[in-house]
Symmetry: C2
Subunit: 218 residues, 2 copies
């Protein structure tokens, strides 16, 4: 915890907290639009349906303090949250696998508003290599290590077929990638010092379908 006094942003914040903070952020942004200048945990609680005590606890990780009775200054809270969550820094990324989902992500310019900029993509399909999608160049996968020298990239977005998910991950890590955003339904293995964030749309679909069938059956 001593280290966190100097680098408050870089302590290992619990994942549930990191997942809730964006809810508070969007709620506070709405309150700002409706004209509020201060916001309390109780107000955020009403808008998010999360206990005010939990909110206060989550916000204690963030470097901001509220004032008794009036709460947090709303502009400061938005700035601090966006910065704390990493949305105000640009994190450059490579994307691997320009298939249906990969191509879709390249076209989602909204990610840049949350700090992720995909600067180049890789594939082996000769129809794609050398072309651009949404202004993002697509290179042959073999050029990856060379491109690591040209771009300052730490994040790899993985949208390849499951058959090559592990081998491409191994290549990324060997080439210097520090974090893999894994959109494949494959559970990839990485060394301890590499960050993996799994975002399996298919797993989310499975949960949704099951709950839907369950509700129908009731």
């Amino acid at each position: 915890m001593d280290n966190s006094l100097q680098h408050k942003d870089y302590q290992k914040v619990p994942e549930p907290t990191l997942r809730r903070l964006p809810w508070y952020l969007s709620n506070v942004k709405l309150l700002k639009k409706s004209g509020e200048r201060y916001v309390s945990s109780t107000q955020i609680s009403k808008g998010t349906n999360i206990d005010a005590s939990q909110i206060a606890k989550d916000l204690s990780y963030v470097n901001i303090s509220g004032r008794t009775r009036v709460g947090y200054e709303i502009d400061a809270l938005i700035d601090v949250l966006e910065s704390f969550l990493g949305f105000t820094d640009i994190h450059k990324a490579f994307l691997f696998g320009v298939g249906s989902l990969g191509g879709a992500l390249l076209q989602d310019s909204g990610l840049t508003h949350f700090g992720l900029e995909i600067v180049a993509a890789f594939d082996v399909n000769p129809d794609l290599v050398g072309s651009q999608l949404n202004g993002i160049p697509i290179y042959h996968t073999d050029s990856f290590v060379e491109m690591m020298n040209q771009y300052d990239v730490q994040i790899g977005v993985l949208t390849v077929p499951i058959e090559i998910a592990q081998s491409i991950t191994d290549k990324m890590v060997a080439g210097g990638i520090k974090a893999v955003w894994n959109f494949t339904p494959f559970r990839i293995g990485v060394p301890d010092n590499i960050v993996v964030q799994n975002t399996s749309l298919y797993a989310h679909l499975a949960v949704m379908f099951n709950r839907l069938n369950f509700n129908e059956d009731k």
Copy 2:
């Protein structure tokens, strides 16, 4: 549990199990491609780095039994898992909000392989209304209730700006939508009988950025 004997698929399966099953499925598909005809929990464990006992427990929800020593018949396991997860049925969906992310999802035809077919989209932007994206018609949001009569839809994909996330959700629910796949960073409120699946790419980015900074600081 009695009800689950008749409708094994429709019992409320724990979410962690539902999130792990797609990992087993993709691993088993790979083993099949490499020529295997039978697969054991131990083999799946090696490929997914999950305890074999956990895998056996998760698979006990699925209506398949392995044979001592040889394990599960691989084709049967794939079929049963895909069906259990809902990937073999087509679930029709409407998408609300054809912005950057919404447009990207309309172009991700891969979702249909996992049981989700977006049959129409809604927006208020006059440049979009009346057009198509990837063959999917875009209607004015006001036509939603009318379209509920034309299409057999239970799922709404929510990709609108946070300012209208709740009001569009309320409209969906009033119109008969039973499950909301929420891609916005806004925490929506729904009645108890409505399923919500949150997939916040931004929350996942926040977790990844924090872990990356933490590793750098070590």
